[in-house]
Amino acid sequence: MMNKETVKTLQDLLVQAAAEYGDKVYMREKCGKEFSDTTFSQLKENCRRVSAFLNECTGGTKTHVAVIGATSAAYLTCYFGTACMGNVSVPLDAQLGVEDLCDHLQRADAEVFFFDKRYVSMLEDIRANCPKIHTYVSMQDVDENGVFCLSEILSNYQPMQWNKIDSESCAAIVYTSGTTGKSKGVMLSHRNLIDNTMCQDGESSTEDVTMTILPIHHVYCFTCDILLGLRYGTTVCVNDSMMRISQNLKLFQPTTLLLVPMIADTIYKKIKAAAAVKPDVSLAEIGRGVFGERLKRIYSGGAYLNPELLKAYREMGYIICQGYGMTECSPRISTGKDDDTNIGDVGTLVNGCTVRIVDGEIWAKSPSVMMGYYNNKEATAEILTEDGWLRTGDLGYVDEKNRVYITGRRKNLIILSNGENVSPEELENKFSGLDWVGDVLVYAEDDGMITAEVYPNPEYVSSNGKDAVSEVFKAHVLAINKTMPPAKNIRRLRLRTLDFDKTTSRKLKREQTTKGEICE
């Protein structure tokens, strides 16, 4: 049985998972009409072969190895093959354009690059802009000069015997998506990732099947789908496309799911639409048709989850456990419990994590807190105190049962001329769940006016017309303002015809290139 005493590094986790769960299927992928399965033992052996290859091409010196691509056993083989021998994995965002990709590769000092074959078309640019990279490996077979193929490595190299590695050493550099400023490379040690994996007990079991949907370079997906899967002997099925979530749910019939609110929201809209045409069928039954017969629990994180959605899922018989965290904390600070029926919190502090509230901001301390930002002492000093507290940048509080509540982002605070602070999220959340709202941003304009800018739901506009949106917007703001102290009142309304600028992870950018029209 794995525990905190025996598992201290990713290497320990993988070796013990292979010993404990051996020939059980760890990762299940679609391969045409068939499944392609990888067992716990196979993953470990393949990782050792990749380590042998890396050992040869780097001369055994510590190297940064970048990996980019969709979730797959091949991806994990490259990631763990790197980290389990003491090298540093650099998982990159598969949606990056070539310019940003080169920037990340250079800033991370990557010398070896593993990639999905669709990146072959970018190789010329990468070679020209990333002179530090000396070894290129495609995770699928390609016939390209100077590129190794993973399949050849797995056939040609014998599994390497791993030496013990230091749990305090860096396992991964993970770039933050960041809605403002240039993304930063978060250095996570083996101890950080393992602490977040081992901090709770009884979260899953060998009976569980999960379907992984979120991008693998996000530490939320990596820790909660991939590492928890190794710990508990869970089978992780790969959703091969956002296009096929519904089909894949029916195919894999998962027992647990890790989602972001946007996906939970869209699935619920579909369920409601189906219910409208089948009034004699219960929502719960339609839900089972969508999620399969086995789904027990949904985890949600990454963004604000409207409590109404939580309630709607409960009515269908599904528990959404909402968690909270950030890349810099590997990522979990709090996690939802399925026996807690409270609404409005973002879960209970994970074991080993302590929190203090400083000027309204949540500061966290735990063995999961990152080593720092790679090559960026200034940014590290801004977020980490000398005695190890992580300034989360989030405003909130913790109740007597260690439940965490978020009220806004500190760095987005609107500071009014009278010295009062306004959290835009607190006001933005008052627009969630409304059928006429697509997205909303609240900010202070140069003249100090608090402005709410809405990109209306296009379906609503086409059915009801632009004037109707304008009327409902004004009425809604009036209603919100009545519940708020005058300092927090929204004084200007703007309506957009174009969608907001978003980051690659679909978060709204706080700095927009265009503004909507003022709604008089």
Partner: protein, 75 residues
């Protein structure tokens, strides 16, 4: 194909079938969001037993593009 597609489109967005033409743009005119659009293509994939290429999908703008693309991969 257009009629079949219309039947499917109205399940995803609020639009009357008679207002859908081959020239209708999915996002601008029919108000698909990206996730709805992907879900619909996923459903078409299953119904027609074809495989949609996610890169090719980025070039699809209109109902007519959907039909042309599906016909090309149906062979």
């Amino acid at each position: 194909m257009l009629e079949k597609l219309k039947e499917l489109i109205v399940q995803y967005v609020e639009v009357e079938p008679e207002n859908i033409t081959e020239e209708s743009r999915l996002i601008e005119d029919l108000h698909f969001n990206s996730y709805d659009f992907m879900s619909m293509l996923g459903e078409l994939e299953e119904a027609l037993d074809v495989t949609v290429d996610e890169q090719e999908m980025l070039n699809i703008r209109t109902v007519s593009d959907v039909i042309t693309y599906l016909e090309s991969i149906q062979g």
